[in-house]
Symmetry: C2
Subunit: 242 residues, 2 copies
């Protein structure tokens, strides 16, 4: 029953995540000149798409590996490898997305890292790198003592949720910023809310919904791997102590 | 010991929260023309200050009432009243902040609710209203059955954390947006990172740190009211099931 509900929830999350990526692709394809590696706008357009695909959707999927009912029994190692590999893939997409925006700035002679969006985004990717490396060192390499693992686990889970929240905040400020810049000198400016603005604002709100659903499954749902000695197997985490 | 650490942490959080508000006041006072109720910029300037003071700092304080060691023993009712009253005060500040920006738009003939920042912000305040009203109906009014309370509790805690996260995202996109608009036609534009831009970006990053610290105490720390029948009294929430 719990497994069935989880499957349904995962399919819904997968559909919503794919929709976020597809709508971002449609946005840059239809209104912002599509993709390329030579002309500057074409280069920039990889940035939002790779960030939404990597830091939001793939990150969400990677975070929820331990909520799969199949991962509840047997060895944790294959699930650790999957969790770590998916996060590495998400991180690589984020780095490519950063590369795209730096290349775009360099071609257009625009300063790097001036906006709050960029400060927040680069901090988030830096925290992600720290999170991945510390997770790898503590949970995957064999020589970390058990005590260190159990001390690091709540920090790892907390930063996992925090990095996703900061990513969502980065995406929202990024879409907002891009619309302010792109629609500045057009007849249909941002305040007149043309179709593009409504479309991209909607992407932002869908990313919020996706992020909240992932955080719900991660922090508050009952789909958790039962630990040996746990009081009950399926009690929601937030219910236990509140 | 735990109480001493909590006191130290609370003082640090209080200092950081006050710093966020003071820096926001300094920003609008020094660079944006200060406060007023007649000239349009003076009206607008209440918006960021009241939002940071209400939806971030007072919200954070209100959320952490049940983490006070004094609240761990005895009747919950006075703490519920304090929690609810502080949140009501934070909500009133948020409504005044919205009033300020709508009045500013109306004076300057600027459209309302066009940017993603505004969509996100208004959604966050709407969720806050729902959260306060449902909390009041379920936890403060006497006729909700116990079962409904325990069902609603994890949802209330989850949305409590989510609304704070969405608020931080709103503040960040708001500061970003304000700097793009205000520094547009100035000699020292946003990309040249004048002192004002660095100052306001820093406020945004401090708000992020404040939000993360509040979420840590709320979700992952060991400063929780021990529930009757809990396995241990001081075990961190995120450690228990992970």
């Amino acid at each position: 029953m719990a497994a069935g509900r989880f499957l349904f929830f995962s399919l819904a999350l997968g559909a919503l995540g794919s929709l976020c990526v597809l709508l971002t692709v449609y946005w840059v394809q239809h209104w912002r000149g599509g993709f390329g590696w030579v002309d500057s706008d074409g280069i920039f357009n990889w940035h939002p798409v790779l960030m939404v695909a990597g830091m939001v959707v793939l990150y969400g999927a990677a975070s929820l590996v331990y909520r799969l009912p199949q991962s509840w029994v047997g060895s944790k190692v294959p699930w650790k490898l999957l969790h770590s590999a998916l996060h590495l893939a998400a991180f690589v997409l984020a780095v490519l997305a950063l590369f795209a925006v730096f290349r775009f700035h360099s071609q257009k002679k625009i300063a790097n890292l001036y906006s709050l969006h960029s400060w927040l985004g680069i901090t988030t990717v830096f925290l992600y790198a720290c999170q991945w490396l510390s997770g790898f060192a503590v949970f995957l390499l064999p020589w970390a003592p058990l005590e260190m693992r159990s001390l690091h686990k709540p920090i790892h889970v907390f930063f996992g949720a925090s990095i996703l929240s900061l990513t969502v905040a980065s995406v929202l400020s990024g879409i907002n910023e891009k619309l302010f810049i792109s629609l500045r000198n057009q007849t249909a400016s941002y305040p007149s809310l043309p179709v593009e603005a409504r479309f991209a604002n909607t992407i932002g709100m869908l990313v919020v919904v996706f992020g909240l659903l992932v955080l719900y499954v991660l922090l508050a749902s009952s789909w958790k791997r039962p630990e040996p000695g746990a009081l009950t197997d399926r009690q929601p985490l937030l219910l236990e102590r509140e």
